[in-house]
Symmetry: C2
Subunit: 452 residues, 2 copies
């Protein structure tokens, strides 16, 4: 496992992932280079998006119809923006019983997991007589963006809409573009299973603008979530503040930590499942066993050409695929914490012990029988997770994203007498006299009453 | 309460707040105009800030020293960027015993409140054999920006730093500019009481850049919180993604809902306490009693000229102060929910009943003896709260802002056999073959074993 000399590309498969050995003298430089590699185009679409948002604010439905005709080759009138119940039923009827059963199972499991996330209100009275606490309430209306075409994932509808419904969001709106009028029936079924109230056949920055500002047909929402292309992401950034948004997701990534006793084919398939998402996706293996590293590289080479999405997966594995040979699992955990992966698979004998050392990760999959793909669909936890090292400071989508907390305080006259003077002194030190006077005015009336 | 004819400015005090009556025919238009009034300069500082961030990334400490000399008229060398323990002790020794006692009481109460916010980890095993749950971990390092000069509020240090320490953040860094070398000793004492580990005498966009990217002297952090001017706000927006940030706060605001039995002077002082923060702050009273509305307007006119910050408070009250006469408390609650105020005072006989109807608010203060000023300092809840109607979708600062949640899943072979096929079917429907194969590969090995 040590002393490999040339630490790069010594596991040279067809697709040649970067291979690093922690014992090599230049490991630190290579690892930092991998961490800071930019995996996204930063094409500047901000001006285009700003113009679209302005147009939607000024002209409402008319702009939505105009842009839908231009981008999706679909001519609509305002009364046709929204799917009717009959249209939804007609599409949903096309779903096979097997697909329906799978989607229903996924919805039930996702709902059960997220139901446990509902936080508790709190209220207590302290010795001074102050009753303190907080209260959680749901966002009133949420909008979910669903990409059209090949990226129209029904699983994403479940993962975004179900937490909102569990949180108690009243009005749940979907915008999904339907290029040439084509919609994926499973997307509509997922919306139905999740309790979505309104579905509009619009996409792009214009859909985000409509959700944020409203049009004649579409009432505005308070929070917008869901994935999208660069235009959608830029539009979400621009309307942030007017409405809440979820994270702006970058390319997806997986880190597998494996000891020597693992099946190399399973690991290879897990790495490739990540790679097939997107040419910018990243798959990393850290193993304590050099032989396993070789075997996984070989398995990837063998399996990759058989995949329908070999071109995408191959580009991802070639450009960003990485195998790291580590001295031991402690070192692997330390590297994992620097990577802060979106998905972390722990295929080791004692996965719980290793998980305790891996403090920064969006989701952890423990043991050899928990492939990430199960988490993408049916295990229950959310698949919307922090990318690009943001698991250092943020969490995956949850019920909390559709709730907000109001803090509550009620003071008795006695409590105000006990803690008010400290507030008066601090207000004075900050030069805020009316702050102090608002306490003093009350205390002086209480004092007079006390002396009556 | 009804039929006032001319609904504007009929409560004409010296400072003439906008006065609206919900019974007036043009109330809705006037209310919408008030809601959408822009209370902030949108001076474009983005390019300047981008250049500063680039400069800090390229030249590190040298840029920090250069800009501190330029903006704060303070010449530093890199080894002088950080306050030494001796320097902190010397400043802290200047604090009066009374101020120290008040700040200590505030710190203790804020700590006690936030300690209750720590969320629980969860783990359970479902009937299929999947062990699911989540785990909370702290951000490793957080940076707190503290404005210098007149806006250097020690209370803000407590409100930002204590939740971070309660969450378990290891490394807590403060950046505070010291114009002409002057520091508020109470800011350093607040940092000491909150367990801050490092304090740097730098400010502006350059401080945010240093926290996000690090320099030779300052190691980067994972999350940045705290208030600041337009440059600091723009810098936080620009480094977002690289690090986490808290909300970008707008001008502060208070809404008081009062019935006829309240002391008009107390209400006037509460409205003025908000107004004295900032000429862009907003103070609103909704009352069911026209006579009280008159009395409060009069009290404001009487008290305002006596305030040291009369100019600021007067500008805020004149430009944004609003008194609304409502038919009843239900109507008041409905208006409050449209305003979604940062601070909401309920000075009515049954404050709990009214609070239940007010679903969008950052913080609620119940009853006549809970002035907002107490909440700004010593009651315990955080005073960093959502402004500009964002209480519709976001919450005040809390321990949660310094934690992140990792979802956990572990499947047994039996659990994979039970739910894996549904994942395979959904993966197939989404055209992601490696996803399906990663499940199928495991299940086929399990099947072979089962038949051995």
């Amino acid at each position: 496992m040590v002393g490999l000399g040339d630490n790069k590309a010594y596991l040279q498969g067809i697709y040649m992932p970067v291979t690093l050995n922690t014992s090599a003298s230049d490991f630190e430089d290579s690892f930092v280079a991998m961490l800071s590699a930019k995996r996204e185009d930063s094409s500047d679409v901000n001006d285009t998006v700003a113009a679209i948002i302005r147009d939607v604010r000024d002209h409402g439905d008319a702009t939505l119809c105009k842009l839908t005709s231009r981008f999706d080759r679909l001519d609509l009138t305002p009364d046709r923006l929204r799917f009717t119940p009959d249209e939804i039923e007609a599409e949903v009827a096309k779903v096979t019983p097997e697909d329906r059963a799978a989607l229903t199972l996924a919805a039930e499991r996702i709902r059960a997991y997220h139901a446990r996330q509902m936080p508790e209100d709190a209220s207590w009275t302290d010795p001074e007589g102050a009753t303190l606490g907080w209260r959680w309430t749901a966002v009133s209306a949420a909008g979910l963006y669903v990409p059209g075409g090949s990226a129209a994932y029904p699983s994403s509808v479940l993962m975004n809409a179900i937490p909102a419904r569990v949180a108690g969001v009243d009005r749940l709106v979907i915008c999904v573009p339907t290029p040439d009028g084509v919609i994926n029936p499973l997307v509509l079924l997922a919306a139905q299973l999740s309790g979505v109230s309104e579905i509009y056949r619009i996409g792009g920055a214009q859909a985000i603008a409509a959700l944020a500002y409203g049009t004649e047909t579409i009432a505005p929402v308070d929070k917008i979530t869901g994935p999208g292309n660069a235009y959608v992401a830029a539009a979400k950034r621009q309307v942030f503040g007017r409405v809440g948004i979820d994270m702006i997701a970058g390319p997806s990534e997986v880190l597998v930590i494996a000891d020597g006793d693992q099946n190399p084919d399973w690991i290879a398939l897990d790495l490739l499942a990540q790679a097939e998402h997107d040419a910018d996706a990243q798959s990393i293996l850290i193993t304590t066993d050099e032989g396993l590293g070789h075997a996984v590289a070989g398995a990837v080479d063998r399996i990759l050409p058989t995949l329908p999405r070999a071109e995408i997966a191959g580009a991802s594995w070639r450009d960003y695929g990485t195998i790291i040979i580590a001295r031991d699992l402690d070192e692997a955990a330390a590297l994992s914490n620097r990577i802060a992966p979106e998905h972390l698979e722990l295929m080791v004998a004692d996965a719980d012990a290793l998980a305790a050392k891996c403090t920064h990760a969006g989701a952890i999959f423990l043991g050899a029988y928990t492939p990430e793909a199960v988490g993408d669909y049916v295990s229950g936890p959310n698949h919307v997770l922090p990318t690009a090292r943001s698991a250092r400071f943020s969490s995956g989508l949850s019920v909390m994203d559709f709730l907000k907390r109001t803090t509550m305080a009620r003071l008795t006259p006695g409590a105000l007498a006990a803690i008010g003077p400290a507030a008066m002194r601090l207000a004075a030190s900050e030069g805020l006299q009316a702050h102090g006077a608002s306490v003093e005015g009350r205390l002086s009336v209480l004092n007079e009453r006390g002396h009556e």
